[in-house]
Symmetry: C2
Subunit: 230 residues, 2 copies
């Protein structure tokens, strides 16, 4: 609906890939609905995935023994995180919905996107004990993992050689998003697009656009072990 | 035993951390046994986690539409991968045992280590359909994930708020190592070292050294959904 803000965190090297097209479809469809859409195109930004001392501007609390979690939490409080992190945090803060668009690499997201999670979701900003899981600091936001796979739907079925795709979703949906209080919409998965026809790939884009039309009416999934491991 | 080769892939920014100490303990104990130990200290190496066109030296097969998987597979065949990848692949090829030492970040490994997986385990080198899982190209090797957590053992118990730690291991042990044919030893987990006494942390180092003394007699775990999700 008009006025809703969406951040698409996108990790593919090639604009002409299916991931690139899925991202464009989302920008177009959501903009058409009157949403304001921002894209963090991680490869184009040459986003830094490594969690290092460079993420803190100025002095450390303890330069004898560098503790990334402690130092970034303190730097967040003092407003001393590096600019690229402050920029991403602003985008997250403003967003009602986060869409993560990527090709599945090794049962997870590509390192460049994992680095976005590692570096942007700083303690104090995204969570602060005991404000985690249902009371995480990013509550009232939604997230959706949209990705392509190399393996087929059959490989990722329960009993399939790669196991139920739900198992793969657990660290991302529960361990990251739910931990920060974000409610999670059902994932959007395009299985093995490299092994289907151009026609089928077009259908995948149409299906995504169609889902987006009624996305705001969807209920979040139940982010519990029962959902994942039933 | 004398002559065995071990590669420790290590991801912590601070040598004086518990992860740093765990790494040193492993180097010392395994060297004492007569093993030859190599360490890839990813932060010290400023290891590149991003999977980009720079990983291929020279021309691409298809520069119109960059496909990382296809291009790195071809570059591997032609010997045209970037030098840092060739170096890491040599270390993997020579190793009998891979130890991954890291702090758990967001239910997974830090992005810098995920980048090592994304970039080093190239198709043709580590797997080549149908040579995956039990017939993966790195069979006859062992791997062990050794890591520290922020959350307590209780949080990572079955029924705990973060779910069974086994669920977290699935993508790493099954999705990556088992996929490449590597047999997996039981993980080594130090829970919440930041919240225990110096004395307890010393006990964690002693326990790791003790385990390493009889490591070569251990049987690999059963890398199946039944093991993880029982």
């Amino acid at each position: 609906p008009p006025g809703r803000k969406v951040l698409i965190v996108y990790a593919h090297q090639e604009p002409n890939s299916l991931n690139g097209s899925l991202k464009r479809v989302a920008v177009e469809e959501l903009s058409k609905q009157g949403c304001s859409v921002t894209v963090s195109d991680l490869y184009a930004m040459q986003f830094e995935p490594r969690a290092t001392r460079n993420d803190i501007v100025g002095c450390l609390q303890n330069s004898e023994e560098f503790n990334y979690g402690v130092e970034t939490r303190e730097a967040y409080k003092r407003g001393c995180l590096s600019n690229d992190l402050i920029e991403e945090q602003k985008k997250v803060q403003e967003a009602d919905l986060l869409i993560f668009q990527f090709p599945l690499y090794w049962f997870s997201m590509p390192a460049i996107m994992k680095g976005w999670m590692d570096r942007v979701l700083v303690q104090g900003f995204a969570h602060e004990f005991p404000n985690c899981y249902d009371s995480g600091l990013l509550k009232n936001k939604l997230a959706l993992f949209s990705f392509t796979t190399g393996g087929s739907k059959e490989m990722y079925a329960k009993g399939g050689i790669s196991g139920d795709i739900r198992y793969v979703l657990w660290p991302m949906q529960h361990g990251i998003m739910h931990f920060c209080g974000v409610k999670v919409l059902a994932p959007h998965i395009c299985f093995a697009p490299e092994y289907v026809s151009e026609e089928k790939r077009k259908e995948m884009l149409i299906a995504w656009a169609k889902r987006l039309k009624t996305l705001w009416k969807e209920e979040p999934i139940n982010c519990s072990p029962e959902w994942y491991f039933k």
